[in-house]
Subunit: 316 residues, 2 copies
Amino acid sequence: MNKICELFGIEYPIIQGGMVWCSGWKLASAVSNAGGLGLIGAGSMHPETLEEHILKTKAATNKPFGVNVPLLYPEQQKLMDRIVKHDVPIVFTSAGSPKKWTGWLHDHGIKVAHVVSSSSFAKKCEAAGVDAVVAEGFEAGGHNGREETTTLTLIPLVRNATKLPLMAAGGIGSGQAILAAMVLGADGVQIGSAFAVAEESSAHPDFKTLVTSLGEGGTKLALKQLAPVRLIKNGFFQQVDAAEKAGKTASELSELLGRGRAKKGMFEGDLDEGELEIGQVSAQLNKVLSVSEIMEKLMDEYHESKASLEGEKFSF
Amino acid sequence: MNKICELFGIEYPIIQGGMVWCSGWKLASAVSNAGGLGLIGAGSMHPETLEEHILKTKAATNKPFGVNVPLLYPEQQKLMDRIVKHDVPIVFTSAGSPKKWTGWLHDHGIKVAHVVSSSSFAKKCEAAGVDAVVAEGFEAGGHNGREETTTLTLIPLVRNATKLPLMAAGGIGSGQAILAAMVLGADGVQIGSAFAVAEESSAHPDFKTLVTSLGEGGTKLALKQLAPVRLIKNGFFQQVDAAEKAGKTASELSELLGRGRAKKGMFEGDLDEGELEIGQVSAQLNKVLSVSEIMEKLMDEYHESKASLEGEKFSF
């Protein structure tokens, strides 16, 4: 049996990335109901909001689901307490040390995956006892590794560094890419962008429309002096880019960023002044689809792609 | 039959990228003799040097081979004249318009491939009548696209944009990566870094030793204001990086770069002051091998990887 399916008790080794302002209970429960693993993105939630989303997810699906907790916000303990209180079976941690919560979560019977952008961090995950790792490449949306290693380069390196069940993330928006990532050594995938623009995503409709209209070069990794983040090249990005080119300091950039920029853009739909996070694979996304349509498309493409290996193209 | 094998008359759809200061007649003829397509890298050659390398390649192999001509240097006509004079069967052009030479080369019975970093340029290649395209991602060494699209993201987009035979480049250093690139839609691959450190590469031994010791994050795309190029993070890179962070202008950066930096580093072995170009996949390269060892490894991995798709990991 596929290791990711076995570990999480799911039908397809497809994880929906826990994304700020996109993945609430509607998206997470829809993905879990469709046979993948839905994650509530706690990065944009206060504890009471997370609690509400957990309860609504449980009401909407009997399948396994999880919560993604980025370890760069305050309120971590409060978020974790609500997770335990409501028997969430799976937690994905990111943007911090895998040592911090893994033992505690295991003590509460919760499975833990951690997101990394390098093989050295994957080894730290193994040492910390996590159950699985997500290796995320440069092309991914949102916060990103400083070393800029792409998914194609990263997955074989992480595969070589650890025997842990491994999910590939960054640049994956089709069944062909799922198969390719697995050929490179992954056991499954985490998909962000394609689900960020699903009908069930909480993102603002105008954000979804913009993402599905982007072409190649529509995003760029920015704010490398703070925490690197992949952004759509909108008005706010242009301000950041100009400031970076002019050699502004980290604290000047931090002031320019201010607070609440991602909410303003992705949730409230201010496409000019907001911080708009999405992956490079947005260039492959042309339409807002429902989660069930996305999952069906991914699996059809995966199976077609796998069957195509019988063809003469692959024979040499 | 595989389209790339058919087009070029080769056994395996593996092209050795034409790289400055690495791919002379020794490397090109060894790759062609091993069943791939060897390319002489004319980017670092004057016409008489190229002529010498063509003649030596022809003496060393009866198999098809080619020349890569980057269209950013002067002397293009003289290089092309020597190519025609000595009946070179295949030319790869890069870093310029595919319209410029394709018709002329076809008139002389030469097959033409062009290197692109976006699907819009792939369409221009099709309109210009080229026989095949190489789509090269952000992780590749040397000069690179401004849009920073990674190989994983780029290949499906280019596949969707053109029916031309397609080679994937950037991040490919194993048989698993060859299969993954082909699953994404490529018909074959172009491999640079792994051949840059082959025994038969003309690069300085100290450069090869450094490349095979690099880890993740050992390279970075730099000089984006001039022409983006992926460099090893050596002393020269640190100077460039500091200048860029201080907001220096393109002409100041150009002055810092000066002339002959790549030769100094890659060919003469000045690892501190030279410009050292290599791909991210260098993190996967740990040993200097002969071309025949590299080709055998790649094909073994390819076949094992293809056979592994029968396993339960892929069954869901």
